[in-house]
């Protein structure tokens, strides 16, 4: 019975310890984490304890047996001394039986001791393995910690990189938006600069033009002087003087022609909006330069017009008429000025040394004068009147030479035509009439009319118009800009403006009887 149990003990724990060792080896890393390992260990310990107790019992029994044996020996010795034959044999038998039992037990003890040794070895092995596992586990833990540290480090690095990346991204975005802004600014700057350059170019061009005009005016004046002085030299005309003189006459003819055409172009206009059409006129003029070819049968005395100067101040202010002045006009020689007023008279003024001197008063109209014009030759003057007629005077006669009647309402405009002996009138009856002065007859056609009169400077560079606010406005035709505004001299709305053909003077007249002579001097 005891041997059998010892057998099971020797085989069983071996397998068990082996299994537990493997389990420990497998689960070395997770000692605490896996409870089943602990459970196995506990079971093994429990078995150890139980077997240990059994052996203790056995040892106790054996020592009791030894005591009993010594007791029996004592008893035997006593019985030997007490002679009893029957009991002796039975005692001997008993003793031999006991000896046999003792031998068996001793054998059992040896066997059990061997088993204990084996178990202890297994236990040692398991301990060693356990320690090894512990060490391994510690190493693994270290490694794990190191790896964790590295992971943290890497994460931190990643974080840093991410921040850097974000910062760079932000910077890139900023730089890109700055780039866009800069590009926009560049565009604006370029625009501004080109604008400035345009202005500079326009300024340069107009300066060049002004200079060349001034130069031409200068030269023309010199020519004029030369031409005048030629008269004295004419009788003794030598070859060079005649050479110099002939182109001058020709020149005068041509500039007369030019002025005549000009006069018709400085027609009335309502607003600066007409610039476009005026420009067109000029452009056409410039390209094909003989729009109206004239017979050159007349040599007119001529005031040369080459450079109009923008006036800056008033030279003279005078009460020219009894009532409001409606019309004003320079003669083509620029030395004579005509004004027409509501007081039914037309007055002639001489323009001399920057002042106006009254020369004559022409009457004959039964109503106010609306419009005045000299003929290109400077011999006659034409006026339009409220009395539905246009009246023609000779300058040296205050009595009208011809009165042109036929309009059904007031005549607002009267002009000499480019054809000799022809006159054009415009009326509030919405007709324009072309008159032949020889026959004093007319033919008419319908059109609209306007009331404010703008004039173009003789060199076609400026446009002047009087305003209802009492100021004269002068625009530059080529740029369309307002060149100057001449205020403060009129107390009522300006009814008409005239620019002298010499370009020097501008006269404005108003509804409150006042005429102002303007100049740049």
């Amino acid at each position: 019975m005891a041997a059998l149990s010892a057998d099971t003990v020797t085989t069983d724990p071996g397998g068990g310890s082996e299994r537990s060792g493997r389990v420990q080896a497998l689960g070395g890393g997770g000692w605490s984490a896996e409870p089943w390992k602990g459970h196995i260990v506990r079971q093994l310990k429990h078995r150890d304890r139980r077997q240990h107790a059994m052996f203790q019992d056995l040892i106790r029994c054996y020592s009791q047996l030894l005591e009993k044996t010594s007791l029996a020996k004592g008893l035997l010795s006593c019985s030997v001394r007490r002679p009893s034959a029957g009991s002796l044999t039975s005692l001997l038998q008993q003793s031999s039986r006991l000896k046999k039992t003792t031998g068996e037990l001793a054998y059992q003890v040896v066997e059990l001791q061997q088993q204990i040794k084996i178990k202890e070895r297994v236990l040692d092995e398991q301990h060693a393995r356990l320690q090894e596992d512990e060490r391994w586990r510690a190493g693994a833990l270290d490694q794990r910690r190191a790896l964790q540290e590295r992971a943290e480090q890497v994460q931190q690095q990643n974080g840093e990189l991410k921040t850097k990346y974000d910062a760079l991204l932000e910077r890139q975005r900023g730089a890109e938006s700055r780039l866009r802004e800069e590009k926009v600014r560049e565009g604006h700057l370029l625009e501004d600069m080109i604008h400035l350059k345009q202005q500079a170019a326009a300024r340069m061009n107009s300066r060049n033009e002004r200079r060349s005009r001034a130069r031409e005016a200068n030269l023309q004046k010199q020519l004029q002087m030369a031409a005048r002085s030629k008269v004295a030299l004419d009788s003794s005309s030598s070859a060079p003087t005649s050479r110099s003189a002939s182109p001058k006459n020709e020149h005068q003819d041509e500039s007369t022609e030019r002025q005549r055409t000009r006069l018709f172009r400085s027609a009335s206009a309502t607003s600066p909006r007409i610039f476009a059409s005026i420009k067109e006129l000029f452009d056409r003029k410039r390209r094909g330069h003989s729009v109206c070819s004239l017979e050159e049968d007349l040599v007119f005395p001529v005031g040369l017009c080459l450079s109009a100067r923008v006036p800056v101040r008033a030279l003279q202010v005078l009460e020219a008429h009894e009532q409001g002045i409606n019309a004003v006009r320079f003669s083509s020689s620029s030395d004579l000025l005509a004004t027409g007023g509501t007081d039914r008279v037309l007055k002639l003024w001489e323009v001399r040394a920057g002042s106006l001197a009254h020369r004559a008063t022409l009457d004959g109209s039964t109503e106010g004068i609306t419009c005045v014009e000299f003929d290109p030759a400077g011999f006659r003057i034409l006026a339009a009147s409220y009395d539905k007629s246009a009246i023609l005077w000779r300058l040296d006669d205050s009595v009208p030479k011809v009165t042109l009647t036929g309009h059904s309402r007031k005549v607002t405009a009267a002009r000499f035509s480019s054809v000799l002996h022809q006159v054009v009138t415009g009326s509030a009856d919405r007709t324009v009439r072309l008159w032949d002065l020889h026959r004093a007859a007319s033919e008419g056609f319908k059109c609209g009319s306007d009331s404010t009169k703008a004039v173009i400077s003789p060199d076609s560079c400026y446009l002047a118009a009087g305003s209802a606010d009492g100021a004269v406005y002068i625009w530059n035709v080529s740029t369309g800009n307002l060149e100057t505004r001449l205020p403060d001299k009129h107390s009522s709305s300006i009814s008409a403006v005239s620019w002298s053909l010499s370009g020097e003077y501008v006269v404005s007249v108003d509804k409150s009887r006042r005429a102002v002579l303007w100049s740049d001097i």
Binding site: N208, R215, E216, S244, C461
Partner: protein, 240 residues
Amino acid sequence: MAESGSSVEFSGSLTSSTLPPPRTRIFKIIVIGDSGVGKTCLTYRFCAGKFPEKTEATIGVDFRERLVEIDGEKIKIQLWDTAGQERFRKSMVQHYYRNVHAVVFVYDVTNAASFRSLPAWIEECKQHALGTEVPRILVGNKCDLQDSVQVGTDVAQQFADAHSMPLFETSAKNPNSQGDGNSGNSDHVEAIFMTVAHKLKSQKPLVLSQPPGASGATVNLSRGRDDGADGGRSWGCSSC
């Protein structure tokens, strides 16, 4: 010339006290061509007498002036150094051509494309209604770069002849590098512009520009016109 001379003589004793002396004449000359052909350098060379250190693209226009004396008369040559790049010039063109007295077309002899665009420049010139009396010259710039010449003189000369323009090859950087005899040792760029100035001076003795609508009002102008009409041809040939 005779007229102006005598008239000045005439007035001299009579009016010199009352009239201001005649102002200096100005010749407005525009310099036109592709961007980078050296318009700025040419004009700078003529007006400042040296090659500019560095130049940037011209925006709009730059003005350069130089006072020269021709036959005893002081004349101001006003060069309009125009922008070659379209975006820097498109809104400026009308100003370029206003009352211009002469046109200088410039191409780069080392850049065939700049030569090929010349018809376009000439066309633009035409569109701005420039009369034949306005002298035009053709300048091939950068001829100091002899190794990289792309536009041969013969080709350029044919083109110039076809458009009745005199041709000049020069270099704003090194104007004396031109080996031909007519420039000699003198500054070739200078000679080119002075030739134009002489031409202008002889073409229009008295009247510098036609005022708008003047329509040939003076004898001198019409003479100038006649001169220019047949002068265009002779002008083209004389300088070849």
